[in-house]
Structure formats: structure tokens, C-alpha cells
């Protein structure tokens, strides 16, 4: 099995490719033949081919997963993405960490969706599946790994090590060499969100093909309006799932990465956000198309644009063309050329098809009246479109460079560049969402429009007023903005005017958000009263949008670095240095004031399998790899999990740094930011976040000392009697007791051994640390053979090491050897994200809104779905 599985997987890939191609041919015939009997025959044949295709896709997935699950490291994919110590649930992530695996995931979702189409598409099946399988065949070709002449088509995930790295010397000597262990999964991806985020996102990717396939089938079969209903039925869940996937990614970034937020306007993020935006615009257009039979051309363009942008985003992130511009895009895995050809062909194909049918698409006979809610939906679509253009143009700079051989760099401050412009689109979205909803539920018409406009503007003015107050109050509480003025230099007029513009945008965004909430809320309550909750999708989603935008405004706009500017020095000559001082150093157990808190670094912590909490490093003695020795009992809530002397396995790659925050009332809590030391990537810091009702406290370590550079020095010898007090490295220490020990961690005692332990209390600033140095005497009865072993006791909290060197039974004096070293420290950054819960609440409401709308369309469109093609 093991030596053939790669070939089996590869064979499945080839079968799935060929069956998809044949399927295209068969479905093409099924939809083009005149005679009904021929149609049916071809369709049956095509369905059989699709069944074969689906089974072989499953076969590819199973083969690859077996390779990963069984640690068969002769296969490059397993070696490159997994390792022996990787837990099973992360093997799922290892599956799609690579280019090939993520294409496979996408292909897999297509196979599942294809089965649903077979069940639901009815008369649309043949033309829709022709398109669907055509695209599917192209995607499968990305992982085909077949060489024809000089050209390599696709990159197979089933390469053996020797095939993947023919250059490596070890394979030139011994092609059958199998590595002992894999290189492991990128530690940043070892997070539960990374188990569910990629499948969700790729399901969203895969779903965008369905509305597109209906559109193309509609154009092809001259069903210029009928395609909209099924496309709407599929478009709503697509937007729901793609949006959820994007926000899961944002949440993952917020929880795991240390750039300090949830959205970084990175090309990888932009590349999926823009297609989603265009899809949402398309859903709005199709809504009008379904209601009035107008906006057909617009719907066509937007749905075609969505799918094109999905492929464009695939090209951007996977062809390697963006390598310089993005921190986390893929490098070219050898499918760059294929992707470029696919993109180009798709662009030409879509344009040609639409151009060919353009004249036949129904035009809107007269213009939509200003008083109609639809008019405002059109304006909203226009705003979405321009917003997308800005993001897309900025993200495509590397592509322009390639095309025109220029060397333009992306904006120096990416986040500011996008945020400062996109905030205005947010203002537009929120006011339009609110106004559109308002006109809709009030049933706007020619007669009442001016009245409604007047009423809405009262709301508008009220929200502006509230927005102004809210932003000014926040400015007073969070002086970040004022600092920005100083930072730029008060003299600088340009900087000042920039800040004024920003503040104006903040006020407007708050007002717009509030406006959308009010109008969405009013619409919702009206619908609930009339018992028409099924129509509330739009109201709920737009209400959510308002809440989300306010959440973004506060959590990003008023994100506040708490660890900033701790020194009392105000503006000095070193102004820019002072204002850039965002990180603070905490020495172990030395409290430091930071605004409302006193911070204390309490030491390193580890996690062990089966233990519900963190274990302080002072209770552990490293042995080999992940195995450590407990030098104290390890307890949690009264239950002892490990006894002194037990050996246990910890997750050694993750070190947590306990930072205690004590507020003015003396209440304290701890945060545990994490650092991983990885051979390939150096130190990887992940934040820890305290979620409060009205804000998050977010902290990550930005630098840790290399403890190997901390030399033990200051060797000293102390002679003490029980009860004596002395000084250890500036700390007061008391020898409490010395007595026989039952067990010494790390020693395999024999029956005749004599074991002694001393108990030392060392008084820290406000904590008492203990040291239990021990000693073992073997063959004590025969002095000539007697051997003495001592255990070294580390007290990392005060940087001390102590050993019991000798016992003098006559005098009762115990000799201890001590050494000390520099105290360790961490450098960290702490920031506050006000009102971030509004962002997540708004997100969930938008998702629910899509869900309600989907349910409604499914019900309403059900009867009318089966249109003869």
C-alpha cells in the first residue's frame, strides 16, 4: 500500500481530469442534441462520468490524507507539511497547507456541489454542468503533475522526496532514503481557526462557480432572465459562506498573528474581500432583477465579475507574482503559467460571450425614479463598485509592474492608504443601507417621497449630532489622536488637515452606522409586528452592517497602545523616538506601572497533555525533547495531576509568558501571550487577549532574551544551620529544614540509599520562593565505596541555582553551592481595542441576514425553478 499510494493518488487525479473533460463533452451533447431520447442518453452517460469523477476526487483526497496521517515521509507532501508530533486535527490543516492540497480542497467542494446540482438543477443540469465541469477540469489540471514534452502540467501532491528534490545530495546517493520526521506544519497555522477557516473559505470559492455557471448557461441557451432565480438561490449562500470564511480569517489573524488587528489590507485579504463585495452588489442587482425584471445587464456583469475576480485572486496569491508585495502569499509552485493562461482565457471568454449576447439582453426601458428604493440600491452598487476599484488597483500594483515593466512600490503605509479612503465608502454604505431600508419599509412612492426624505434627514441630523459627541468624547478619553497631531509636528499644516479630515470621517461613519441601525431596527420591528420575519433578511443584514461599521470605527480607529509613552518625558528633541516607543520591557517580578494597570512578568509557562492549566517553568526540569521532570507537585483546583519526581510530556514548542495586570482596585488577572521558537521562522509571537464587555486588551511579546546567553556566574558557598538566615543574590533566604527525602526527581534510588532534602525559603518582593536542593548517598554503610550525588535546584524566578554540596553531621552545618545569573525579561506591547464586540456582533447579524434572505428565496423560487432550457 505504502509504496503504491502515490501512484494510486496520481491515477485518481488523472481519472478525475479525464472524466471531467469527457463529462463536459457528454453534457454538451446532452444540451445540444435535438432529439429527446438522445438528450436523455447523453445525460445518463454524463451523470455516470460525473459519478466517476466524484469518486476519483474522493480517492485523491483519501490517498493524500493517508500519506499525511501515516507519516509516510517518502512522500514530499507529508514531509513538508506534517511531522510526527502533529496532533490529528492539525493533520487536517497540514492537508491544505500546501498549494496542491488547497486546490484539492477546492476541487473536492466542487465535486460535492456538483452532486447537489445533479439533484436540484433539473432542466438546467446539462448546460450548467457543462460549464461547471469545464472549470473543474481546469482546476484539476493544476494538480495533475503530468509532463508532456517539455511542459509540466500542474503540480502533483504525490511526488516522492526524490522526485521533488532531485538536487538534494542524499537522494543522489540513496534514492530510497526516507526521512525520520517531517518538517512540520507552520506554527501559525496550528490554531483551531485554521482547521475550519480554509474549508469554509474554499467552500465559498467553490460556490461562486454555481451562479456563474447559471449565468453562462443562460446566455448560451438564451434564457436571459431565467438564470437569475437559481443564481440568486445559490448566490445568497455563497455570499454567506464566503463572508463567514473571510471573517474567520480575520478572527484567526486577530487571535494568532501579532500585527495588532484583524485586518491588514494585505493582498491576500483584499483578493478575497473584493469578489465578495462584487457578489453582494450582484445579489442586490439580482434582487431588483427578480422584483422588476430590470437590471439584467448589471446582474450579468456583476455575477460574471465575481467569478472572474475569484480566479484573479487565485492568480494573485498563487502565481508567485505577488511574492514581493505580500508577506504571506504563496511562492510559485510551478503553476504560475497555467494560472496566467487560465485567467487570460477566462477574461477573453467571458468578455466575448457577454459581448456576443449583449444586444439581446433586456435593457431597462425607462430610468428608475429617484423615489424608488431601487434607485438607492443602484447608487449603493455604484459605491460598492468604486470601493472595489480602489482596493483592486492598489492590490494590483505588482501586476501592473509585471505588465508594464515598471517598479512602483505599494503605498508605504498600506493600512493607512486603504483605511483612509475606504472609511468614506463605509460612510456611503451605511447611509445608503439605512436610507434604502427606510424607503422600502415605508413603501416609498412619488407622493410620499419628499415627506420620507424630510423624516429621514431628521434622523440623519440627529445621528450626526450623536456621532460628533461620541467621537469628541472618545477623543478625550483616548488621546491617541491628539498624540498623532503631536507626532506629525503641530507646525505641519498638511498633517493637521489630514487629522481634521479623519475626524470628520469618524463622525460621519458613526452617524452612518447609527442611521443604518435605526432604520434597520425600525424595519425589523415593523416586519415582526406584521409577522413577516421571513422578509427581514435585508433589515437584519443592514442593521448588522451598521453595528459592524461602528465596531470597526472604534476598535481600529481608536485602537490605543497602552504600553506607549510610559516615561514622563513629554515632547523633547527626541520627539519621534518618544512617540514611537510602543513597547515596554518587563523584568521578571519587577512591577511596572502602565496607565490604569501595574504589570508584572511572572515567568514562563508551559502546557502539558491532560493538565487543564499552565505549568510554571519553575516546577519543571527539562530532560529530552518534550519530556520534563516535575520538581514540585503539579496541582490544579486541589487535584494533583503530577507528583514531584514524575516525568511528563509538555508542548515544548509553545512558551507562554504570564503577565499579571493589577488594576487600581487591586484586582488582578493574567494574560499569557505565546512565543514559539521555530527553526525555520525564528521567534513567532502570538497574542493573548482579554475580552471585556466594552473592549479587548491585547498583548503580545515582541522580544525575548536568548536564555543561552545568560551565563551562570557569581559562584558562592554558603554554610548554614537549620533556621539560619542569609543573603542570596540580594534576597533574604532562610534554611527552614533538612530532612530525609522519599524521592529526588531525576534519581533512581536504590533501597540502601540515603536521601536528604533541604528546604529553603527565599523572600521575593511579595512572594516566597522555595528551593529544595537534595542529596543522595549511595553505599553509605561502606565509606570506601560511598558516592554522593546532588541535585541542582533552579529558582528561575530570581535567577538562582542552588546545590547541597555537603553535610557535616558533627556540626550540623550544611554547605550549599550557589550560582546566579541575570534576571530574564520580556518586551511586550499592550493595546486596547474598544468596542470590538460590536464588530463580531455585526458580523453575525449580517450572516444571519443572508440566511433569512436565502430561506425566503429558496421558498419563493422553488416552484418556478424548473424552466425548460
Amino acid at each position: 500500500m505504502r509504496s503504491h499510494i502515490g501512484d494510486i493518488g496520481h491515477l485518481f487525479t488523472i481519472i478525475s481530469f479525464i472524466s471531467a473533460l469527457l463529462g463536459v463533452f457528454a453534457y454538451w451533447n446532452a444540451s445540444n442534441k435535438k432529439a429527446l431520447e438522445e438528450q436523455t442518453n447523453w445525460k445518463t452517460f454524463a451523470r455516470g462520468l460525473f459519478g466517476l469523477h466524484a469518486i476519483s476526487v474522493l480517492g485523491i483526497v483519501v490517498s493524500l490524507f493517508m500519506i499525511i496521517k501515516n507519516h509516510w515521509y517518502e512522500y514530499h507532501y507529508a514531509w513538508n507539511h506534517s511531522s510526527n508530533s502533529l496532533p490529528v486535527y492539525y493533520m487536517v490543516s497540514a492537508f491544505w497547507e500546501g498549494q496542491e492540497g488547497s486546490f484539492l480542497l477546492w476541487v473536492f467542494w466542487h465535486a460535492i456541489i456538483g452532486l447537489l446540482l445533479l439533484k436540484w438543477a433539473k432542466s438546467w443540469e446539462a448546460p450548467v454542468m457543462t460549464i461547471f465541469l469545464g472549470i473543474q477540469a481546469i482546476l484539476v489540471s493544476m494538480i495533475l503533475g503530468v509532463v508532456i514534452g517539455d511542459a509540466k502540467i500542474g503540480s502533483s501532491p504525490f511526488l516522492t522526496m526524490a522526485q521533488a528534490m532531485p538536487e538534494a545530495p542524499i537522494f543522489q546517493n540513496n534514492p530510497d532514503f526516507v526521512p525520520e520526521d517531517g518538517t512540520g506544519l507552520n506554527p501559525l497555522l496550528q490554531n483551531y481557526w485554521m482547521v475550519i477557516h480554509p474549508p469554509t473559505l474554499f467552500l465559498g470559492f467553490a460556490l461562486t462557480l454555481v451562479p456563474f455557471a447559471y449565468l453562462v448557461a443562460g446566455l448560451w441557451k438564451e434564457k436571459y432572465t431565467e438564470w437569475v432565480k437559481p443564481a440568486m438561490n445559490w448566490g445568497l449562500p455563497t455570499a454567506l459562506i464566503l463572508g463567514t470564511g473571510i471573517m474567520m480569517g480575520a478572527y484567526w489573524a486577530y487571535e494568532t498573528l501579532n500585527f495588532g488587528g484583524y485586518w491588514n489590507w494585505d493582498p491576500v485579504e483584499n483578493a478575497v474581500y473584493v469578489p465578495w463585495l462584487i457578489l453582494v452588489a450582484g445579489i442586490h442587482a439580482m434582487m431588483i432583477a427578480q422584483r422588476r425584471g430590470t437590471a439584467m445587464k448589471l446582474s450579468t456583469l456583476l455575477i460574471a465579475g465575481t467569478f472572474f475576480l475569484i480566479i484573479y485572486s487565485t492568480y494573485l496569491t498563487r502565481s508567485g507574482d505577488l511574492e514581493d508585495a505580500s508577506v504571506h502569499s504563496f511562492t510559485d509552485a510551478g503553476m504560475g503559467l497555467q494560472l496566467r493562461i487560465f485567467l487570460l482565457a477566462l477574461m477573453v471568454g467571458i468578455t466575448a460571450l457577454i459581448a456576443w449576447r449583449w444586444k439581446k439582453l433586456p435593457s431597462d426601458e425607462k430610468e428608475t425614479e429617484t423615489y424608488s428604493p431601487d434607485f438607492w440600491v443602484f447608487i449603493g452598487i455604484a459605491v460598492i463598485f468604486i470601493s472595489s476599484i480602489q482596493i483592486l488597483a492598489g492590490t494590483s500594483i505588482p501586476v501592473f509592474n509585471k505588465l508594464f515593466n515598471t517598479h512602483v512600490a505599494p503605498p508605504a503605509n498600506q493600512v493607512q492608504f486603504y483605511s483612509r479612503i475606504q472609511i468614506w465608502f463605509g460612510v456611503g454604505f451605511s447611509f445608503l443601507a439605512g436610507f434604502g431600508q427606510y424607503l422600502w419599509w415605508r413603501g416609498a412612492n412619488k407622493a410620499n417621497f419628499s415627506l420620507l426624505l424630510r423624516k429621514a434627514s431628521y434622523y440623519g441630523i440627529a445621528t450626526l449630532f450623536v456621532g460628533f459627541i461620541a467621537v469628541m468624547l472618545t477623543n478625550t478619553f483616548i488621546p491617541e489622536i491628539g498624540q498623532r497631531v503631536l507626532e506629525a509636528g503641530v507646525e505641519n499644516d498638511e498633517a493637521k488637515s489630514k487629522i481634521v479630515v479623519d475626524m470628520l470621517a469618524y463622525v460621519l461613519l458613526f452617524a452612518g452606522g447609527l442611521f443604518a441601525i435605526i432604520s434597520g431596527g425600525l424595519a425589523l420591528s415593523k416586519l415582526l409586528k406584521k409577522n413577516q420575519f421571513k422578509l427581514a433578511g435585508g433589515a437584519v443584514a443592514h442593521l448588522g452592517l451598521g453595528i459592524m461599521l461602528i465596531g470597526i470605527l472604534f476598535s481600529a480607529g481608536f485602537s490605543n497602545t497602552l504600553s506607549k509613552n510610559l516615561t514622563a518625558e513629554v515632547i523633547s528633541e527626541r520627539q519621534s523616538e518618544q512617540f514611537n516607543a510602543e513597547h515596554l520591557m518587563l523584568r521578571r517580578h519587577v512591577p511596572k506601572r502602565m496607565g490604569e494597570f501595574v504589570l508584572r512578568y511572572k515567568g514562563m509557562r508551559f502546557e502539558a497533555d491532560g493538565f487543564p492549566s499552565f505549568i510554571p517553568e519553575s516546577k519543571l526540569l527539562p530532560l529530552v525533547d518534550d519530556t520534563v521532570l516535575a520538581v514540585r507537585d503539579i496541582e490544579y483546583e486541589g487535584k494533583t495531576y503530577f507528583k514531584r519526581g514524575d516525568s511528563l510530556r509538555i508542548f515544548a514548542q509553545d512558551t507562554y509568558y504570564e503577565i499579571e495586570f493589577t488594576d487600581k482596585n487591586g484586582k488582578s488577572f493574567s494574560l499569557f501571550p505565546r512565543a514559539q521558537v521555530n527553526d525555520n521562522m525564528g521567534l513567532i509571537a502570538s497574542p493573548d487577549t482579554r475580552h471585556e464587555f466594552n473592549r479587548d486588551l491585547y498583548t503580545h511579546v515582541s522580544s525575548i532574551p536568548n536564555l543561552k546567553n545568560f551565563q551562570w556566574r557569581g559562584a558562592d558557598t554558603l554554610r548554614l544551620r537549620v533556621g539560619d538566615t542569609t543573603f542570596f543574590n540580594d534576597f533574604i533566604a532562610i534554611l527552614d529544614s533538612v530532612g530525609p527525602a522519599k524521592k529526588i526527581p531525576g534519581f533512581n534510588a536504590e533501597k540502601t540509599d540515603i536521601m536528604m532534602s533541604a528546604h529553603l525559603s527565599i523572600l521575593g518582593r511579595d512572594t516566597v520562593f522555595t528551593a529544595i536542593p537534595s542529596l543522595l548517598i549511595r553505599h553509605a554503610s561502606t565509606p570506601s565505596q560511598a558516592q554522593m550525588f546532588t541535585s541542582t535546584e533552579d529558582v528561575p524566578d530570581i535567577g538562582l541555582q542552588v546545590k547541597m554540596a555537603n553535610i557535616d553531621p558533627k556540626t550540623g552545618i550544611f554547605t550549599f553551592a550557589t550560582r546566579s545569573r541575570q534576571m530574564d525579561y520580556v518586551v511586550l506591547k499592550v493595546s486596547e481595542k474598544p468596542m470590538i464586540n460590536l464588530l463580531w456582533t455585526g458580523t453575525i447579524l449580517i450572516i444571519i441576514g443572508f440566511g433569512i434572505a436565502w430561506r425566503r428565496r429558496l421558498k419563493e423560487n422553488k416552484e418556478t425553478l424548473d424552466v425548460r432550457v
Binding site: 542524499i170 430610468e367 463598485f385 488597483a393 508605504a412 503605509n413
Partner: protein
């Protein structure tokens, strides 16, 4: 003039402004020499300089300076740009912990008082996908 024409016109104007803004805000790839020239003529825009860390004959990285016990918000390193010109880069942040691991470094910043002050450091670490060593 129809409403749709007005809307189209507004869309074109706004898009044009955004493209113009992109041109204004976009940065450039420079060598240290051209970046210094820019600063001299009063250009206050930040620029991108691509380079590698300076290494000694043994291949060890030299010139990394970060002493958090003195100032956790100041670090310095020496970057050799693509024209082989060396320059000390000052960063008012902790030294990026994976700096020493990266084979290519992009600093975004500008010269101020003849010192190159970086606002941001982008690291291109040897990708996992290009792993060539087998243990």
C-alpha cells in the same frame, strides 16, 4: 442629461481621483543612494529599500544592535542594498526576532538627518516551500 449619465460621470470622476491618489500615495523602490537624494531635495515620502543583512567572512550577521534593557524601542542593523551599498538602519521598535533568519529584507522609511529611519521592516524568510535540506 439623464440621471444615469450623471451617476456615470460622478463614478468616473471619483474613480479617476482614486487612481490619481494611488499614484500619489504609491511608493518607490530605491537604493540608499537615491533615497538619500530624495531626502536632500525635500521629498518626505517613505521609500522601499531592498537588501540583505551584512555578513562577515564567516557568514555571520554583523551589526545587529538591540539592547532592550537600555531601550526596548530602539534597534539598529546594517543593510546592504542591491547596489552593495551599506547603510545603518534605525528602527524605533524591537528588533524583529526573525530578522537574522531572513534572506531578504525590505525596509520602508526615509532618511532623516542623514540617518535612515525605518517605519517598517518586511522580511522574506526562506519559504518552507523552498526547503532543500533534508535531515
Amino acid at each position: 442629461m439623464k440621471k444615469s449619465h450623471i451617476i456615470a460621470l460622478v463614478m468616473i470622476v471619483v474613480s479617476g481621483f482614486l487612481i490619481f491618489n494611488l499614484g500619489e500615495e504609491s511608493s518607490s523602490y530605491d537604493s540608499f543612494a537615491t533615497a538619500r537624494e530624495r531626502a536632500k531635495v525635500g521629498d518626505s515620502k517613505s521609500t522601499h529599500v531592498v537588501g540583505k543583512l551584512k555578513k562577515d567572512a564567516m557568514g555571520e550577521i554583523v551589526g545587529l544592535e538591540y539592547n532592550p534593557q537600555v531601550n526596548p524601542n530602539l534597534s539598529k542593523f546594517i543593510l546592504v542594498d542591491t547596489l552593495q551599498q551599506e547603510e545603518m538602519v534605525t528602527l524605533y521598535q524591537p528588533l524583529p526576532p526573525d530578522l537574522a533568519k531572513s534572506d531578504r529584507v525590505v525596509v520602508i522609511g526615509k532618511f532623516q538627518n542623514d540617518k535612515f529611519i525605518a517605519d517598517e521592516v518586511l522580511l522574506k524568510c526562506p519559504s518552507k516551500y523552498e526547503e532543500t535540506e533534508v535531515k
